[in-house]
C-alpha cells in the first residue's frame, strides 16, 4: 500500500458525492471548452490569413466598390507580385436558411495564384476557366449540399437582380487545416457581363483587390503606396494586411466575444467553488483522521499530498470527461446550427490548445480547491483533532 492507494480509497468514500462532483466539473469543463472552441472558430480566419497578402478596399466601407481600372495601377506599385480581385455576391440558395455560405465572384485567372491554399487540380481549373458560369466550391460545402462536379446550382442574390445559374466545375480542398472549405467561387466576368445587361451602372467594379507582395516586412510601405495612388480620387482606397482585414470583421462581434470570455472565466469560478466545497466538507469530516495520521507520524506534506491528490484526481477525472465530450458536442452544435440558421463557422474542430487549456484549468481548479482543506489539515492541532482533553 502506498499513500496514493489511500488517496484512491478516499476518493470513493462517498461515491455519489464524488460522482456528482466529477459530473459537475465535466459539464463545466465541457462548457468552458465549447466556449473557447467557438471563440477559436471565430478567429480561425485570422490564422488562415497570409502575411504576404494585402487587401485593398474602398476607404469609406467595404460595401462601396472600387473601379476595375485600379487593377493596373495597383499592379504597378513596387513590391506587388500578383493581383486578383473579388466581389461579394450575397446569393440565396434555395432559401435564406440554406444560404449561410460565402459566394464570391473572383478573377479566375489570378485567384488561385494569390490564394494557393485553395487547392484544385489543373484539369478542374482548366474546366473552370473554359466556362463563363462555372463555379468552384469547397469540399465541405459540396459535402453539405451533396454537390458534385457537373451539378447546376441556381441562386438569387440579395444584391443583384435575377436568377443566376452556376455549373460546378471543380471542388477545392484546403492546403491547411485552417483553410476555409466552405467558399463558393465563380467568375467575376460572369457577374460583370450580366450586370452590363441588367444594371450597367454597377458594372466595372470589384469589391476588393487581393494584392500579393514579395516581402511581408514591406506590407505597411506598400499599403501606403497603393493608397497614395488613389488619394483624392472618387474612390479612395484603404489597404491593409489580410489579417487586419479579417480582424476588422471580427471586431464587429467583439462585445459578444468578450462576454463569452467572461462567461468562460465565470464557469471556472463556479467549478472552483463546487470542488472547494466538496473538499472543504471532506476535510471537515476527516479532521480526526488527519489528527490520527499526524499522531502516527505523518507530516504536513503527507496530508497535503492526500488532500491535493484527491482534489486533483476528482478535477482531472471531470476535466478529462469534459474534454472528451467537447469534440462531439461542438460537432453536434455545429450540425444543429447549420440545420437551423445555416453554417456559422468554416472550420469546426477542437484545437489542441483548447484541450490543453481546459486540462490546465481542471488541474488548477483541483489544486486551488485543495488549498483551504490542506491549510486546515496542516494547522490542525492533534489534540483538537482528537477532541479529547482530559
Amino acid at each position: 500500500m502506498q499513500l496514493l492507494h489511500l488517496v484512491f480509497r478516499n476518493l470513493f468514500r462517498h461515491k455519489l458525492r464524488t460522482v456528482l462532483t466529477v459530473l459537475g466539473i465535466a459539464i463545466a469543463i465541457l462548457s468552458f471548452g465549447m466556449i473557447r472552441t467557438v471563440i477559436a472558430m471565430w478567429y480561425s480566419g485570422i490564422e488562415a490569413s497570409s502575411p504576404n497578402r494585402l487587401i485593398t478596399r474602398n476607404a469609406i466601407s467595404l460595401i462601396f466598390p472600387l473601379p476595375i481600372a485600379y487593377r493596373n495601377a495597383i499592379t504597378a506599385v513596387p513590391g506587388v507580385t500578383d493581383l486578383s480581385y473579388a466581389q461579394w455576391f450575397g446569393g440565396i440558395y434555395i432559401d435564406e436558411k440554406h444560404s449561410q455560405f460565402p459566394q464570391i465572384a473572383v478573377d479566375g485567372s489570378t485567384w488561385f495564384k494569390v490564394a494557393p491554399e485553395n487547392q484544385i487540380s489543373d484539369a478542374e481549373l482548366t474546366a473552370f476557366m473554359r466556362e463563363r458560369n462555372a463555379a468552384i466550391v469547397g469540399v465541405q460545402l459540396a459535402r453539405r449540399f451533396g454537390w458534385k462536379v457537373g451539378d447546376t446550382v441556381r441562386m438569387r442574390s440579395m444584391i443583384y437582380s435575377g436568377d443566376w445559374d452556376f455549373v460546378i466545375r471543380g471542388i477545392y480542398t484546403g492546403a491547411k487545416k485552417t483553410t476555409d472549405e466552405t467558399l463558393f467561387f465563380f467568375h467575376w466576368e460572369y457577374l460583370d457581363q450580366k450586370l452590363r445587361q441588367l444594371e450597367p451602372w454597377r458594372a466595372g467594379h470589384v469589391g476588393w483587390y487581393v494584392v500579393k507582395i514579395a516581402d511581408p516586412d514591406r506590407a505597411a510601405a506598400i499599403s501606403q503606396a497603393i493608397d497614395a495612388r488613389f488619394k483624392n480620387s472618387l474612390a479612395e482606397t484603404r489597404t491593409e494586411t489580410e489579417e487586419s482585414f479579417i480582424q476588422g470583421f471580427i471586431s464587429m462581434s467583439d462585445a459578444i466575444l468578450i462576454a463569452l470570455r467572461i462567461v468562460s472565466i465565470v464557469i471556472i469560478g463556479v467549478i472552483l467553488a463546487v470542488l472547494s466545497n466538496t473538499m472543504a466538507m471532506t476535510a471537515r469530516e476527516r479532521l480526526s483522521e488527519y489528527a490520527v495520521l499526524k499522531t502516527l507520524g505523518f507530516r504536513t506534506r503527507h496530508l497535503i499530498l492526500l488532500i491535493a491528490g484527491e482534489s486533483v484526481l476528482i478535477a482531472l477525472a471531470g476535466g478529462l470527461i469534459g474534454i472528451g465530450l467537447i469534440g462531439p458536442t461542438v460537432s453536434g452544435f455545429d450540425a444543429v446550427m447549420t440545420s437551423t440558421i445555416g453554417a456559422m463557422f468554416p472550420i469546426v474542430g477542437v484545437s489542441i490548445a483548447t484541450r490543453s487549456v481546459s486540462l490546465l484549468m481542471a488541474l488548477g481548479v483541483g489544486l486551488a480547491a485543495a488549498i483551504f482543506p490542506a491549510w486546515r489539515a496542516a494547522t490542525l492541532r492533534i489534540v483538537n483533532g482528537l477532541r479529547r482533553i482530559g
Binding site: 500500500m1 502506498q2 499513500l3 492507494h5 489511500l6 480509497r9 478516499n10 470513493f12 468514500r13 480526526s288 483522521e289 490520527v292 495520521l293 499526524k294 499522531t295 502516527l296 507520524g297 505523518f298 507530516r299 504536513t300 492541532r381 492533534i382 489534540v383 482528537l386 479529547r388 482533553i389 482530559g390
Partner: protein, 304 residues
C-alpha cells in the same frame, strides 16, 4: 523516507518474534529482561539510526528492566544503566477558552522506568489525557521539561516531533481511530509507510503484528466489519507494528463491553510482560487499572 533503515527490525539472532504466537506463554519475559534491552518481539532500533538529538545516543544501551513510576525529579544527570524512559519535571499546562485560561496540569513531576506498565487514573478533567498527550509528544507543555526515550520532546518542532512519534510512540485510542476505507491489514501497515521498509518487509511486519493480536484471519476486513474489540486489537497491532519505545493508551477499554475489555487488557498485559513494552494507560476503569503494575492518581492537575 527517513535517512536510515530499520536494519534490525527483525533481529539477526534468534529473536523472540520467531517463537511468537498469539497465545505465547508469558513465562520467558523475566529471562528476556534479564538479558538486558527489554527484549521486544520486534527488534528495537538499536541505535543505528541518526538520533534526533545527541542526548538520544545510547538510549538503548541505557534501557533498564524493571522499576516503578515515581514522583519527583529523581533523574540522574548522568547516563546510567537504569536510566528512566520517561522523565517529567515540573510540567504545567493550561488551555485557553476564549479569554479564560484553564490550568490543566500543575507542576507535574513523574519518572517512568523502561518496561513499566503505568495506569493514570483520575476524574474527568483531572488532566490525565493531557499528561498522556504530553508524554506522547502530541501536545507541548507550557512549562517544565519532558524527556522521553532520551529526547527532550518539549523543545522539538512539529516536524521533529512527528518523526519522533513515528519512531518511539504507539498510540491506542478509546475509539480505535482506524481509517475506515482501509482493511485491518492496511491500517496496521499505515505507520510503516513512513519507513524505508520494502513492500515485502511491510507485509511481513503487518502480518506479524496482526498475528500477535490474533486477527490474522480478519486481515482483509474493513473496520465496519469488525467488532469493537477486534477494532481495538487492530489498533493495538497498528500501535506495535513499528516496534515503538512506549505504548500510550487513552481509555483503551472505554468503548468496549466487558468481555472485549478483558481481551484488550490481557493483550496489553502480555505486551508488557512478554515483550517488555513500556505502557502508559489512561483509564477510568479500576479493573483496567489493576492490571497495571503502577497506578498514579491525578486530581485537578496534580499527581497524588
Amino acid at each position: 523516507m527517513w535517512g536510515h533503515r530499520r536494519t534490525c527490525f527483525f533481529p539477526r539472532r534468534t529473536g523472540p518474534h520467531k517463537q511468537l504466537t498469539a497465545t505465547q506463554a508469558p513465562g520467558s519475559q523475566r529471562a528476556r529482561r534479564a538479558r538486558g534491552g527489554g527484549s521486544i518481539w520486534l527488534c528495537q532500533w538499536r541505535g543505528r539510526r541518526k538520533p534526533l538529538d545527541p542526548s538520544e545516543q545510547g538510549e538503548r544501551e541505557g534501557e533498564a528492566p524493571s522499576g516503578s513510576a515515581s514522583g519527583g525529579g529523581d533523574a540522574s544527570p548522568h547516563k546510567i544503566v537504569s536510566e528512566p524512559l520517561i522523565e517529567i519535571n515540573e510540567v504545567s499546562k493550561s488551555y485557553r477558552r476564549d479569554r479564560l485560561e484553564i490550568p490543566v496540569l500543575r507542576d507535574i513531576s513523574l519518572t517512568v522506568p523502561n518496561g513499566e506498565y503505568l495506569a493514570l487514573m483520575g476524574p474527568s478533567g483531572s488532566g490525565k489525557t493531557t499528561l498522556l498527550n504530553l508524554i506522547a509528544g502530541i501536545d507541548q507543555p507550557d512549562r517544565g521539561k519532558i524527556r522521553v526515550a532520551g529526547n527532550e520532546i518539549g523543545q522539538m518542532d512539529e516536524s521533529a516531533l512527528a518523526l519522533w512519534r513515528s519512531r518511539h510512540v504507539g498510540f491506542i485510542f478509546q475509539l480505535y481511530n482506524l481509517i475506515p476505507v482501509l482493511t485491518a491489514f492496511e491500517n496496521v501497515e499505515l505507520p510503516l509507510l513512513l519507513t524505508s521498509l520494502t513492500r515485502k518487509q511491510r507485509r511481513e511486519h503487518a502480518e506479524l503484528a496482526l498475528r500477535v493480536v490474533g486477527l490474522t484471519d480478519r486481515r482483509d476486513h474493513y473496520p465496519r466489519q469488525l467488532s469493537g474489540g477486534q477494532e481495538q486489537r487492530v489498533a493495538i497491532a497498528r500501535a506495535i507494528v513499528t516496534d515503538p519505545t512506549i505504548l500510550v493508551a487513552d481509555e483503551p477499554t472505554g468503548d468496549l463491553d466487558k468481555a472485549s475489555a478483558f481481551e484488550i487488557l490481557d493483550l496489553l498485559e502480555r505486551l508488557n510482560t512478554d515483550f517488555a513494552k513500556t505502557i502508559v494507560m489512561v483509564t477510568h476503569d479500576p479493573r483496567a487499572a489493576e492490571r497495571a503494575r503502577v497506578v498514579r492518581q491525578l486530581d485537578k492537575g496534580t499527581l497524588i
